[in-house]
């Protein structure tokens, strides 16, 4: 996703390296019950990209692990393997109605704010929001096993 940002290849590679470095540094904090590795890596990459753009230390995007005060997540509660969920969601994303898939992709991969999606695609902001909501409604049953 770094390469899609519009940053030059060199910067994108630096960010990709930085992401892998953080994965390495934080690997001992990662637990499989908390989420799929690809999701975890996605959030690390996202935070680094934001830091890079903003070039400052105060971090507006909270890390869920930092605010999860009481982690009484029931261990071994028949939670489906997280990577299976990702695979299922990926499949479902593939069969979303094209207009919903487009806004989801523009948002998560092209990293466009909702207002920019509206501008670029010429659809009203309200429609961008409702397409995101509809896409979520479709994906939600697949995300339900998550704890």
């Amino acid at each position: 996703m770094m390469l899609r940002l519009g940053v030059e290849t060199g910067t994108a590679e630096d960010l990709a390296q930085e992401t892998m470095l953080n994965v390495w540094r934080k690997a001992h904090l990662y637990s499989a019950e908390k989420g799929a590795a690809s999701t975890w890596i996605f959030t690390i990459a996202r935070n680094l990209r934001i830091d890079h753009i903003r070039r400052q230390s105060s971090r507006p995007y909270v890390d869920l692990d930092d605010v999860e005060i009481e982690s009484d997540a029931p261990l071994g509660s028949a939670v489906v393997e997280q990577s299976q969920i990702v695979a299922r969601v990926a499949k479902a994303l593939d069969v979303l109605p094209p207009e919903q898939r487009e806004v989801v992709r523009l948002s998560f991969i092209m990293e466009m704010p909702q207002s920019e999606i509206a501008e670029r695609t010429g659809i009203p902001l309200g429609t961008v929001k409702s397409r995101l909501r509809l896409a979520y409604d479709r994906l939600r049953p697949l995300l339900e096993d998550l704890h």
Partner: protein, 214 residues
């Protein structure tokens, strides 16, 4: 904490995607620190990012990239989890309110109403502020110049959508008009992210707007 009002799921998706402007991201982060239900939601919306990432075609790194990476890896130190912030200020807000809520410099903004801007980075286009309304006082009726996110930190207010108390969040579009009134009793203190200047409807207030800097 019983929370009745949560952000729009589209806002949480944009949070997961990392595309919210800083002031909005701070308000959502602070709500997440207070709201378990939304933390669960964000775990789900993060998963969408992970799934999309797994669908993207891989890109080749340039020659030498792996070597450089391996040498950086040798110097890498493990990261320890962050400590919780001081009491009274939710952790995500700590960086923006280093001296706590009591040290805030309030600016008079109409009878019973005060605001305090919180500094954000230069890349932020919106505005992050604290709004304090004395018990029983009105915030002038207004529509929004864009999205408005309001998180109640203390006290409560009432408008046509219901009673908003600590932890509740009002996620309003530009076409929403409302007139919050602080519930009787203690001050209502909110963390607010706005896109542009709030546009107030009443003529009097519109005249006063530049004066009060709302």
């Amino acid at each position: 904490m019983t929370i009745s009002f949560h952000p729009d799921i589209a806002t949480l998706m944009s949070f997961s995607a990392g595309t919210l402007d800083e002031p909005y991201a701070v308000v959502i982060s602070t709500h997440l620190a207070m709201c378990e239900a939304c933390r669960e939601q964000v775990k789900r919306t993060n998963l969408i990012g992970g799934a999309l990432l797994s669908l993207e075609p891989a890109t080749e790194m340039s020659a030498g990239s792996l070597d450089r990476f391996m040498s950086r890896l040798d110097d890498a130190e493990p990261v320890q989890p962050k400590q919780q912030s001081k009491p009274g200020v939710p952790a995500p807000l700590a960086a923006y309110l280093p001296d706590g809520i009591d040290a805030v410099h309030w600016k008079f903004s109409g009878p019973g109403v005060a605001i305090a801007d919180l500094p954000t980075s230069r890349n932020a286009s919106g505005r992050l502020m604290l709004l304090r309304v004395a018990g029983g006082r009105k915030v002038p009726e207004h529509s929004h110049g864009g999205q408005e996110l309001t998180l109640i930190l203390k006290g409560a207010y009432r408008d046509r959508f219901g009673v908003f108390a600590a932890g509740d969040i009002a996620d309003h579009d530009e076409d929403v008009e409302h007139q919050p009134i602080a519930e009787p009793g203690e001050d209502c203190i909110c963390l607010v992210a706005v896109d542009a200047k709030l546009s107030f409807r009443s003529r009097l207030v519109r005249t006063l707007q530049p004066l009060f800097g709302i």
